[in-house]
């Protein structure tokens, strides 16, 4: 038989553990969740004005394993925020958090970073072409000696052995391909987020 103090300790331990697991969230968000659940447990565990230990256990059981609960909270809230936003900066921020929570998040972040940086490189090349016409562009370097080839995008130090592939076409092509890549990457990230969210299963009591 547990005493009231012991069941209080149990609730505190549960909420402390949950709080520690909500690391992907802002401090205020985590605090709100903890306080909301504390109020919930207190109210659910109070029967005829008294907190009973069996009721405390039942309330905690209803909330389930803190690890599972934290995972639901963190991914749900974090991913929902990405869905209301289309800005790459905000999406990347969210993906960084998701990456800290799961392996899938890590790979989505990796893919998105590659997409965004390639897109930015194209746009930057297009913008820099008018200022450094001789050194900006898409370059093809047949590596001397061995059979490997190397393509350079952007501003090169010297253009000695390279062959420029696009000339001034880098401006329209760079802008089009670059912004296309940015949009595609955003779509890709949001698609992954939705797909992941849909795969989550509701727990039925």
């Amino acid at each position: 038989m547990m005493t009231a103090a012991e069941s209080n300790q149990k609730v505190d331990a549960y909420l402390r553990r949950l709080n520690a697991l909500l690391r992907g969230m802002s401090k205020e968000d985590a605090h709100e969740i903890i306080e909301e659940l504390r109020a919930h447990i207190t109210e659910k565990a109070t029967v005829n004005g008294e907190v009973t230990t069996t009721a405390v256990d039942a309330a905690l059981a209803g909330l389930g394993d803190p690890d599972e609960l934290a995972a639901q909270y963190a991914t749900d809230a974090v991913l929902a925020r990405a869905e209301v936003s289309r800005s790459p900066v905000r999406i990347l921020k969210v993906l960084f958090r998701w990456a800290s929570l799961s392996v899938a998040g890590f790979f989505v972040l990796l893919g998105s970073l590659i997409g965004y940086s390639l897109g930015l490189a194209f746009i930057l090349s297009a913008l820099l072409k008018p200022f450094f016409p001789a050194r900006t562009g898409l370059w093809y370097f047949p590596a001397s000696g061995d059979s490997t080839i190397s393509l350079h995008l952007g501003v090169t130090g010297s253009a000695v052995n390279g062959r420029e592939l696009l000339g001034w076409w880098i401006v329209p092509i760079g802008l089009a391909v670059g912004s296309g890549l940015l949009m595609l990457t955003t779509q890709f990230a949001l698609w992954c987020v939705r797909r992941y969210r849909r795969s989550r299963v509701v727990r039925v009591r």
Partner: protein, 141 residues
């Protein structure tokens, strides 16, 4: 790039398999069905006015067959708030601790109406489709 895409898809598949699968195949369909309705059920429960978490749970329990766990409803409330379909406020109560009340935003009301329309249409056509099955069931009894 392609490798990264492959890894992403692969790990998503893997994670799906890691999700709890302690339900039988028939149960799983029911779980999915309930899951699909839960969002509409919560928005509908809040149609008449603000409620706090435990009230929402009790409303769902008494007015529908949607007996879902607290561990599902609270994170969902937090997500609906992040999606700006709900807003929340802390209100002092007689019981001594403040309660977090949820209410529909304008966007939440719009979404609830849309979802209710879709649901009514879908369930009407579904009922029509399964009508012969129900007659058969009665005949067997």
């Amino acid at each position: 790039m392609l490798t990264a895409l492959y890894l992403v898809l692969h790990s998503i598949e893997e994670m799906k398999q890691m999700e709890p699968t302690n339900h039988e195949a028939g149960d799983k369909w029911e779980v999915q069905l309930r899951k699909g309705c839960l969002e509409l059920a919560i928005l509908a429960a809040l149609w008449e006015g603000r409620l706090y978490g435990l009230e929402i749970l009790r409303r769902l329990e008494s007015d529908s067959d949607l007996v879902v766990s607290e561990g599902t409803v609270y994170p969902l409330l937090s997500r609906l708030k992040a999606l700006e379909l709900l807003r929340s406020e802390w209100v002092e109560s007689d019981s001594g601790h403040p309660r977090k009340y949820y209410a529909l935003t304008a966007a939440g009301k719009k979404r609830a109406i849309e979802m209710a329309g879709t649901w009514a249409q879908f369930s009407a056509s579904m009922s029509k489709l399964i009508a012969p099955l129900e007659r058969k069931e009665k005949g067997n009894k």
